[in-house]
C-alpha cells in the first residue's frame, strides 16, 4: 500500500481539525470495508461505491481474473492522466507496480497475480467528489476503472453515470446482450449477414461432449450433433441458441438452448454392427453441405456412414410459418443414413423414454431394435416424431 506522506499529513491535520472543531463523538467517525474483485473482461466487479467524507475505508481487492491487475485511486478527473503516466514508466514500470509517483495518485494497491488479495486503508477525503479507481497495468486503464463517490447523497442512475465504463451502465443482471430479449427489443445482429436456416454453430452445448454442433433447421426445429461421439444427441423446437454469454469468451459458459427439447438419445450408442450389443468405435470425419443441410460423415469400426438430418412434415398445427403464427405444431426429424460399404447386419437402438416415435423405411422392429440387412443398411431413413407430453 502506498500513501504519499504529504497527503497523509494533510489528511491527519484535516481530520484532527475536524475532530477538534466538532462535537461529534469519536465513535461516530465511521469505518467501512469495501471488497472489490478484478474479474474477467478487464473490469472490477463493482464499478462504483460511495463513502461519506472522513470515513475510514478499508479497500480489499481480490484478483479473480487470469491476469495481473492493480488498483489506484486518483484525484477527481485525473484517471486518464494517471494511466498515461503509468505507461510512461517504461522499463521502470514493473518494479513500480505500474504506479506512477505523482500527487494525482492518492492511494494504491500494487500488482496482484491471479488469486492474490491485498488491501489499502485510508480516510476518505473531506472534499466531496468523484474519485476514480483504475487498473494501470499496461493496456488495462482505458476500460478497467470505476468511481469512488465521496458524498452524502444518493448516487445517480447507473445508466446515466458517466464515471463508470459505458459497458457497465446497465444492471449486471440484465447485462449480456442476451438473445432472450423482451418483445420490445430489437434482436441483435450477430454476424455481418442474416443467417438463414439451415445453419450451425460449433459451440459448447449442455448435455453433449465439448465437440458439439448446434444445427438450426427451417420450421423452428434444431438439433445437437455431437461430433465427439458421432451421434444426434438431442433435438428441440422453438428458438435456436443464445451464444451471447459463450461468446464473451471466459469462464464455464455454454450455448443456451432456446426452445423445448423433444428428443434426447439415451442409448449407449444407437448404431450397432454385427451383433445387437456391439458398440462400434466411432470417428468423426466431417460433413458436406447438401442444399445447405449438413450430411455428417463418420465411421463405425472403420465403415463409412453418412447421415443427413432434415425436418419432417409437421403432424398438426400450421404447416407454413408465413401463414401467421397460430400453433407451432409438432415437428419431426427425418434421418437419412447411407452406408455404401455395409456388409453386416445393422441394428438401430433407441430408448423408450427418448421422447419420439420411430418409423423406418426399411428393416424389421424386433425387441426394441430396428434390424437392417446389409443391403438395407446401405440407404434407409428413420423418421422421428415427438410423443405427446414427454418431458426431457
Amino acid at each position: 500500500m502506498m500513501l504519499p506522506q504529504k497527503k497523509l499529513l494533510l489528511l491527519l491535520t484535516t481530520l484532527l481539525f475536524a475532530f477538534l472543531m466538532s462535537s461529534v463523538p469519536v465513535d461516530e467517525n465511521p469505518s467501512v470495508t469495501i471488497r472489490l474483485q478484478a474479474i474477467p473482461g478487464l473490469q472490477y466487479d463493482q464499478v462504483r461505491f460511495s463513502v461519506k467524507p472522513g470515513t475510514t475505508v478499508e479497500l480489499i481487492l481480490t484478483n479473480a481474473d487470469d491476469m495481473s491487475h492493480n488498483l489506484l485511486i486518483t484525484e477527481p478527473g485525473a484517471r486518464e492522466e494517471v494511466v498515461l503516466s503509468a505507461l510512461q514508466l517504461g522499463e521502470a514500470g514493473p518494479t513500480a507496480d505500474f504506479i506512477p509517483d505523482i500527487p494525482q495518485v492518492l492511494w494504491s494497491i500494487p500488482v496482484l497475480s491471479p488469486g492474490e488479495t491485498k488491501s489499502v486503508t485510508f480516510t476518505a477525503p473531506q472534499t466531496l467528489g468523484i474519485y476514480p479507481y483504475v487498473c494501470t497495468y499496461p493496456g488495462h486503464g482505458a476500460v478497467m476503472y470505476g468511481a469512488m463517490y465521496v458524498t452524502e447523497e444518493a448516487l445517480p442512475a447507473l445508466a446515466e453515470d458517466p464515471n463508470i465504463p459505458s459497458a457497465r451502465r446497465v444492471d449486471r443482471m440484465q447485462a449480456g446482450d442476451s438473445l432472450q430479449a423482451g418483445p420490445h427489443q430489437t434482436p441483435k445482429q450477430w454476424h455481418p449477414y442474416e443467417p438463414v436456416p439451415p445453419y450451425w454453430y460449433r459451440v459448447f452445448i449442455p448435455g453433449a461432449s465439448p465437440a458439439a454442433m448446434a444445427v438450426c433447421l427451417p420450421d423452428s426445429v434444431s438439433y445437437c450433433w455431437d461430433a465427439g461421439t458421432c451421434r444426434l444427441r438431442f433435438a428441440w423446437q422453438g428458438g435456436f441458441v443464445d451464444n451471447s454469454q459463450l461468446w464473451k469468451g471466459k469462464g464455464d459458459v455454454s450455448s443456451i438452448i432456446l426452445g423445448t427439447i423433444f428428443f434426447r438419445d439415451k442409448t449407449d450408442y444407437p448404431l450397432r454392427t454385427g451383433t445387437p450389443d456391439h458398440i462400434p468405435v466411432v470417428a468423426f470425419k466431417g460433413f458436406r453441405l447438401i442444399d445447405r443441410y449438413p450430411e455428417f460423415h463418420y465411421t463405425l469400426d472403420g465403415m463409412d456412414v453418412y447421415e443427413l438430418i432434415k425436418p419432417g412434415k409437421k403432424t398438426d398445427g400450421t404447416a407454413h410459418a408465413s401463414q401467421g403464427h397460430v400453433s407451432p405444431g409438432r415437428v419431426s426429424l427425418t434421418r437419412t443414413f447411407r452406408m455404401p460399404q455395409a456388409n453386416q447386419t445393422l441394428w438401430f437402438a433407441f430408448h423408450p423414454d427418448d421422447g419420439v416415435d420411430y418409423q423406418a423405411s426399411a428393416g424389421v422392429w424386433k425387441e426394441g431394435l430396428l434390424k437392417l440387412s446389409p443391403q438395407e443398411a446401405r440407404q434407409f431413413t428413420i423418421h422421428m416424431t415427438p410423443k405427446e407430453g414427454v418431458k426431457l
Binding site: 505507461l87 497495468y137 460449433r202 459448447f204 461468446w247
Partner: protein, 480 residues
C-alpha cells in the same frame, strides 16, 4: 455472399518509414480476429470468434463469407484458392468449396486426435507446415479460473490440478503436436502454457511463443525441437510412460534441469505483456531492411516487436526490440501475416483480455528506418549493426549505451519479479569502418541474464534519429 463495408477506416497514421492503415470491416461483424492468411493473388482469408471465415479483396475492398460455424477458430493455412485448413477448438478442419460457388460446402476433419475438457482456455493454435508436409498445431492448457465439462473428449487425469495453476486434464494439452502426411498426430514437444504463435524461420527451424503466467516469469520465444520440454509442467502428465505423479510437485530444480530455455525473453511490462504470432519477413526487402527476421504481435499495447536471433555455441538466442509503437496501431495484435505486396497485416483481438478488434496493415513507405538491424554477442560484450551509417560522434559516446541486466525466476508463481537488477557500464565503444557496426565492451558478461540496452540520441550520418531505443538481449550462453 458479398458484404458491403460501412465502417469508416481510421485516419491513416504514419511515421517516417512505416505507416498504419485500417482495413474497413463489414458492418455487423464482431471482428475479434482469430487468424489471417493470404492467397498468392493478394486476397485475405480471415476468421473471427463467432465462427465466420471471410475473404477480403484489397483491390475491391469487398468482404465475402466463405465458411461459418467454427468454434473459436484461431488458425488458417491456405491450401488453394478454394481450400483452407482451419484450426478450431474441436479439431483441425479442411474447408473446401467443391462446386465453385465461392462458399465452402465440405468441412472435413483433418485431426481431432487430442483431448478437450471444455475448459474455456483450451484454445488451439496453428497449423504451420514444414517442407516435408508435416503439420504442427499447439494446444493451450486449461485455466484454473474455469472447470472441466461434465463430459470431455479424451482420458481425464486431474492430478495436475491446483489453485492458480494452468492444467492439462486431458491428453496433450500444453503440447505441440505433429500431424504426418499419413494422418497420424504425434506428441512433438511439451511444456507450453499458452502457445499462441507458431512459425518457421527461413531455414525451417520452428519457433513458438508463450505467455507470462505460472511457471513463466516473462513471455518467451522458444526454438522448438522434437522431444524437448519447455518449462510449464502441466503437460508432462501426458508424456509417454510418465510415472512421477503431479509434475508440478517435482522439485523446481528437477524441472529446471529438464527444461529448454527460451531463445528470447520479452521483459514483462517493458517489451511486451502478451506476445502472439511471429511472422517471418519473407518479403525480400519489400517491407524494409529486416528480411529474415521475425515480427511478433503484442496484445496489451499498440506495439509490434521485432526479434534478432543468432546461434551461439549452436543454440539460438537473441534480442527483441520494439518495431512499431502506437501511431495509429491498435492494441490486441493477435495475428500477423505478410501480404504478397510486402505489407504486414495485423489482426486484432481482445475476447475478454486486453486488446482491440479489427484488422490493420503496416506499410513500408520506402524511407529506410534508422534502427538496430542486429545485436550479436561477442566475447567482450555486444556488436550492434545499424540499418544506416552512423554519425560518428553520437555513436562513439559510451553514455549512449546504457545497459542493465536482470533475470526472471523459474517458479510456480504467476510471473516473476526482476531479480538482481544492476547497471552494466560500457567501458569501450568502437565504430567499424563501414560506420554501421558498433562493438561494445561491457565491464562483465554473465550468462542467465537479460541485457537491457537503452540507446541514447544516436544519429545516422544523415542526421536521422533512432526509431527504437530499447533492446533486450537474452544471454543464455556466453560465447565459447
Amino acid at each position: 455472399m458479398a458484404v458491403g463495408c460501412v465502417t469508416d477506416p481510421d485516419q491513416p497514421a504514419s511515421d517516417v518509414s512505416y505507416r498504419v492503415e485500417a482495413i474497413p470491416m463489414p458492418e455487423g461483424l464482431s471482428s475479434e480476429t482469430g487468424a489471417i492468411a493470404f492467397f498468392p493473388d493478394g486476397r485475405l482469408a480471415a476468421c473471427f470468434h463467432r465462427g465466420e471465415v471471410m475473404f477480403y479483396d484489397p483491390e475491391t475492398k469487398v468482404w465475402s463469407l466463405f465458411a461459418e460455424g467454427f468454434h473459436d477458430p484461431l488458425g488458417i493455412l491456405v491450401i488453394s484458392p478454394s481450400e483452407l485448413l482451419v484450426m478450431q477448438r474441436p479439431e483441425l478442419t479442411r474447408v473446401k468449396d467443391t462446386d465453385g460457388d465461392g462458399q465452402a460446402d465440405l468441412y472435413e476433419t483433418v485431426t481431432d486426435d487430442f483431448g478437450i475438457s471444455g475448459n474455456y482456455h483450451e484454445f488451439n493454435y496453428g497449423p504451420i507446415q514444414d517442407q516435408a508436409q508435416n503439420l504442427f498445431i499447439a494446444l493451450n492448457t486449461a485455466s484454473p479460473n474455469g472447470d472441466v465439462r461434465e463430459e470431455v473428449r479424451g482420458r481425464l487425469d486431474h492430478r495436475g490440478r491446483a489453485p492458480r495453476q494452468m492444467f492439462a486434464a486431458v491428453p496433450y494439452r500444453g503440447w505441440i503436436m505433429k500431424l504426418t502426411p499419413s494422418g497420424t498426430l504425434w506428441p512433438y514437444a511439451c511444456g507450453f502454457r499458452s502457445p499462441n504463435g507458431l512459425a518457421f524461420d527461413a531455414e525451417g527451424h520452428m519457433f513458438v511463443t508463450d505467455n507470462q503466467g505460472d511457471w513463466i516469469g516473462t513471455s518467451p520465444l522458444y526454438h522448438v525441437q522434437e522431444g524437448k520440454f519447455y518449462g510449464h509442467p502441466a503437460s508432462l502428465l501426458w508424456q509417454e510412460g510418465w510415472d512421477r505423479g503431479n509434475p508440478a510437485e517435482l522439485p523446481v530444480a528437477a524441472l529446471d534441469s529438464m527444461r529448454t530455455k527460451a531463445a528470447v525473453l520479452f521483459p514483462h511490462g517493458i517489451m511486451a505483456n502478451s506476445i502472439t504470432q511471429p511472422a517471418l519477413d519473407h518479403t525480400q526487402g519489400k517491407f524494409g531492411p529486416f528480411a529474415g527476421q521475425f515480427f511478433i504481435g503484442e496484445m496489451n499495447q499498440g506495439r509490434i516487436v521485432r526479434v534478432m536471433l543468432e546461434q551461439v555455441n549452436g543454440e539460438f538466442q537473441g534480442a527483441c526490440i520494439p518495431f512499431y509503437d502506437e501511431k495509429g496501431l491498435r492494441k490486441g495484435n493477435n495475428r500477423l501475416a505478410f501480404a504478397p505486396d510486402g505489407s504486414l497485416w495485423v489482426g486484432q483481438n481482445d475476447h475478454g483480455w486486453a486488446g482491440d478488434r479489427g484488422i490493420q496493415r503496416i506499410v513500408y513507405t520506402g524511407k529506410p528506418p534508422m534502427d538496430v538491424y542486429t545485436m550479436k554477442l561477442t566475447p567482450e560484450g555486444f556488436e550492434l549493426t545499424f540499418t544506416q551509417p552512423l554519425d560518428l560522434s553520437t555513436a562513439s559516446d559510451t553514455s549512449h549505451y546504457q545497459f542493465r541486466h536482470y533475470y526472471y525466476e523459474y517458479h510456480q508463481e504467476y510471473g516473476s519479479e526482476q531479480f538482481d537488477i544492476q547497471r552494466r557500464p560500457v567501458t569501450q565503444v568502437s565504430v567499424a569502418a563501414d560506420q554501421k557496426k558498433v562493438s561494445l565492451t561491457l565491464d562483465t558478461m554473465k550468462a542467465g541474464y537479460i541485457y537491457e540496452l537503452t540507446l541514447g540520441d544516436i544519429r545516422s550520418a544523415e542526421g536521422d534519429t533512432l526509431a527504437n531505443k530499447l533492446v533486450c538481449y537474452t544471454l543464455n550462453q556466453l560465447k565459447k
